[in-house]
């Protein structure tokens, strides 16, 4: 009980974390309540083509196929969140293990891994992602996995730095003298104690994943079987002069979602990073 109170107070004290949490709660609610707050399913093709916002009960209008924009925005949350969570988790897991191994084992392993991390951090990942998706087929599953597989280096870099400093700490050294194996130490001490910056970065990466998915959809590499905001912008682009609302609202949905994840990530960083926690907030 006390813990819950403490967490709630932490959230209240950091405005970014608070907005982030509220935003995510709203999105989750919208997913659950989707059938209640929309009049049409996301894949319903109605008779009104390019109806302006407000016409015939279409709050945000319809697209050229007669789909209700508001419904699509609501059902698109599901896709975006799925992409965000799955790909960021893949990226986080790989990053933690690779970075942890490099930082803790040190030596030649570390040097090679760091160089690879550096290379990947500077390569234009988007091209690799779209190459893979176009080669292997554009299902949402591929999109998520590929984004996860290409964005781990920043997590690995953070984890490596953590592992490097943690391995000098007394509790790790004592564990080593007690005869625990390197892998045991890595998973029992290094990773649990060094994971916090990765968590904050992973939240930021969720925003990145949403943007990447949107870009892929915009290039025609999205999954045609799901409702995706990027896809909506892509479809709306051709009808921009007759129906600006399709592009505008779909894009706004992306911007708001990305902002929510940014704020969440910043907020987590403020709370977990002792540098911010002490000096009060800005």
């Amino acid at each position: 009980m006390n813990r819950v109170k403490k967490i709630l107070r932490t959230i209240r004290d950091d405005s970014q974390l608070m907005f982030g949490c509220i935003g995510i709660c709203i999105m989750l609610l919208m997913i659950v309540l989707a059938p209640v707050i929309t009049r049409w399913p996301g894949d319903y093709y109605g008779p009104d083509s390019l109806a302006a916002p407000g016409v015939n009960g279409h709050i945000l209008g319809t697209n050229h196929m007669g789909q209700d924009v508001w419904s699509m925005v609501v059902y698109g949350i599901r896709t975006s969140l799925k992409v965000a969570v799955v790909s960021a988790c893949i990226s986080g897991l790989i990053g933690i293990v690779v970075g942890g191994v490099a930082g803790y084992f040190g030596g030649i392993v570390d040097r090679i891994v760091s160089e690879i991390i550096n290379v990947f951090m500077m390569l234009p990942t988007l091209f690799l992602v779209l190459l893979v998706v176009s080669l292997f087929g554009n299902s949402i599953f591929h999109v998520m996995v590929v984004i996860g597989l290409t964005t781990w280096p920043s997590n690995a870099k953070l984890m490596r730095a953590q592992a490097l400093s943690l391995r000098q700490r007394t509790f790790v050294i004592s564990a080593r003298t007690m005869g625990e194996t390197k892998l045991q130490i890595l998973f029992r001490y290094i990773i649990p104690n060094g994971i916090f910056p990765v968590i904050s970065n992973t939240t930021m990466r969720m925003a990145g994943a949403i943007l990447t998915e949107a870009s892929l959809s915009f290039l025609g590499l999205g999954d045609p079987t799901v409702v995706s905001w990027g896809q909506m912008v892509y479809d709306g682009k051709a009808y921009m002069t007759q129906g600006w609302w399709v592009c505008v609202f779909a894009g706004l949905a992306i911007v708001l979602t990305v902002l929510v994840f940014y704020m969440m990530g910043d907020g987590i960083n403020h709370v977990l990073n002792p540098k911010y926690a002490k000096g009060g907030k800005k």
Partner: protein, 320 residues
């Protein structure tokens, strides 16, 4: 210094080789045979197939294939487009200038403007300008590039009719000389503005936090203790120290910019590599896609070398 440059060169070569390896691995992991990926499943010309088998040693062990593939690439042979049957290098090369012009201008301007904003905000943290800059850059950072481009088109081209929405020159105008340059610049405004709005936030953040960091360094306190004027401290000491991380981020930012520019070129129908890429995606023209990836990576690697050298000139600790 020489050792340093050589090290950076080796790193660049390593990068490019890694990209080549990735391309190679993808060809082999992807569903379908490598031949189909290289010449397209519709092309059943047996002579061409045989020639390819020979060039890349497709009947030999994977390791032989790998070295043949790299060898071909090092000779500048990136294969031919499945759709247009023209060499990939040529296809990308002819469009590269337009992309480069856009990317380079955007990169330099974003650096200058972003750094200037970051310095202003960092000097007066929490001030009015800092708040305005911080919130706007936060928001722009959250926008998908293509969507921002579309919004700017709706605003400046469709509604206000101030600027052209697409292309690099006015069609059928046949301008020459100075008029031509002006026409290109005129068409460049919106794509450039989009790229700037997307990239400035990054430089702004880096510069601001760097200025704040340097401002809290012990040596700045020492200089204050000597009674030196804030102006002098800032101009000579804060600025030079604070600009270092910004220089590093220039290289990193290049990767984002190059990825971003493709999407923006598509929205604005800018005749650069982005267009080539879009056509290639729609036609599943894999050799072209791989070529784009490779060329873009080489461009990033080259930028990194330049950035590293500039960094070494600025920071004496690097030169040893």
């Amino acid at each position: 210094m020489l050792k340093y440059v050589l090290k950076k060169l080796a790193f660049a070569v390593f990068t490019v080789l890694l990209v080549m390896t990735l391309n190679f691995t993808l060809i082999h992991l992807a569903p379908g045979s490598p031949v189909d990926i290289i010449i397209g499943p519709d092309n059943q010309d047996p002579a061409l197939r045989a020639a390819l088998m020979e060039t890349y040693g497709l009947d030999k062990p994977v390791i032989v294939q790998f070295f043949r593939y790299i060898g071909q690439l090092l000779h500048g042979n990136m294969g031919s487009s499945i759709v247009f049957h023209t060499p990939v290098a040529e296809m990308i090369g002819s469009k590269f200038a337009a992309t480069f012009m856009l990317v380079f201008t955007a990169a330099v301007l974003a650096l200058i403007i972003g750094a200037a904003m970051g310095i202003t905000a960092g000097r007066k943290e929490g001030g009015f300008l800092d708040k305005v800059f911080s919130y706007t850059s936060y928001t722009f950072n959250a926008m998908p590039s293509f969507w921002l481009a579309l919004m700017l088109i709706i605003l400046f081209a469709t509604t206000l009719r101030w600027l052209p929405s697409s292309g690099m020159v006015t069609p059928r105008a046949k301008f020459t000389g100075f008029r031509y340059t002006l026409d290109v610049l005129y068409h460049m405004v919106l794509p450039l503005l989009t790229l700037l709005l997307l990239r400035i936030p990054g430089y702004f953040r880096t510069t601001k936090s760097s200025v704040l960091q340097v401002n809290s360094e012990d040596y700045i306190t020492t200089l204050r203790a000597t009674g030196m004027s804030e102006k002098k401290i800032f101009r000579k000491y804060v600025l030079k120290n604070a600009i270092l991380p910004v220089v590093t981020s220039f290289g990193m930012s290049m990767a984002f910019l190059i990825a971003g520019v493709s999407l923006i070129e598509i929205v604005f129908a800018w005749p650069g590599t982005g267009r080539v890429m879009l056509t290639a995606i729609n036609q599943r023209d894999y050799p072209v896609l791989m070529g784009v990836y490779l060329i873009m990576s080489i461009m990033v690697a080259l930028t990194m070398i330049v950035v590293d050298i500039v960094y070494a000139i600025l920071d004496p600790r690097i030169r040893y």
